[in-house]
């Protein structure tokens, strides 16, 4: 479930950066070698990575700090 929400966030954020990507793709048509690097960099929005890292870290923190006993899950023999 958290991964589903994360996927939605990534899709929303990628849509927002679509216009940036178009500029870069346009530059590729102009055969500028440097734009290849730009394309790789702009394809993944740094903010998405930041959100993903924050969520993963918080979940790991919660798993280690919290102590819920899930019956029938990991807690059972």
């Amino acid at each position: 479930m958290p991964y589903l929400v994360l996927a939605i966030v990534i899709i929303v954020e990628c849509r927002e950066t679509k216009s940036k990507n178009h500029i870069v793709i346009g530059e590729i048509e102009m055969k500028k070698l440097s734009t290849l690097k730009d394309l790789v960099v702009t394809k993944v929005n740094p903010n998405v990575i930041r959100i993903a890292i924050a969520v993963v870290s918080l979940v790991l923190f919660a798993l280690a700090a919290g102590a819920p006993d899930a019956m029938g899950g990991v807690g059972m023999k």
Partner: protein, 193 residues
Amino acid sequence: MIFAIAANFGLVAGIIRAKKRSTAYTPSVLKHLWIVFLGFLPQFFVFFLPVTREQIPNQWVPVILIGSQLLLLLFVWLNRKQAGIWLMGFGLILNLIVICLNNGWMPISPETLDQLQVSSNSWQLWQRHGFSKDMVIPVSDTRAWILSDVFKINLFNFYKVAFSLGDVLVAGGIFTFLWSAGAPKSLHKEYAK
């Protein structure tokens, strides 16, 4: 599951908040994240990975659990100015207190297990409950009982979980952190103060 709910609600509420104000959803940068991974790693081997958790003796569990939670406490201290982190830290301290007072285990009472309709064949008094952090201890012998796994969720016998007040605060901290990421930038500075 309560952590997953808190993370999902926090994320969704924060994004809606950001969209309403036409600002970017930007979570604060957490410092020294490696401490979280370092703190989680021993617990991964002790509680989650089937191959290793069967090999590790129960006597080691309290030491590993408390050591790993102390590392998390250090992480909380280093990031104490971030929104929600202090709440997560408070929850962690409450869990740490009850675990330390009960010889390194989170107590769970037979009554709680009964109320969750857990088969009595699967647990014994004064024994670890499965591969969890919990030890089955009678209420009368539990120190700081109110901080132990006293809250229960039983979703149609499909998902059963017992959790503590500390867990609730940790979940609240996660929600607050993710929700505050949708605040205007001026408020980000306020949160960081």
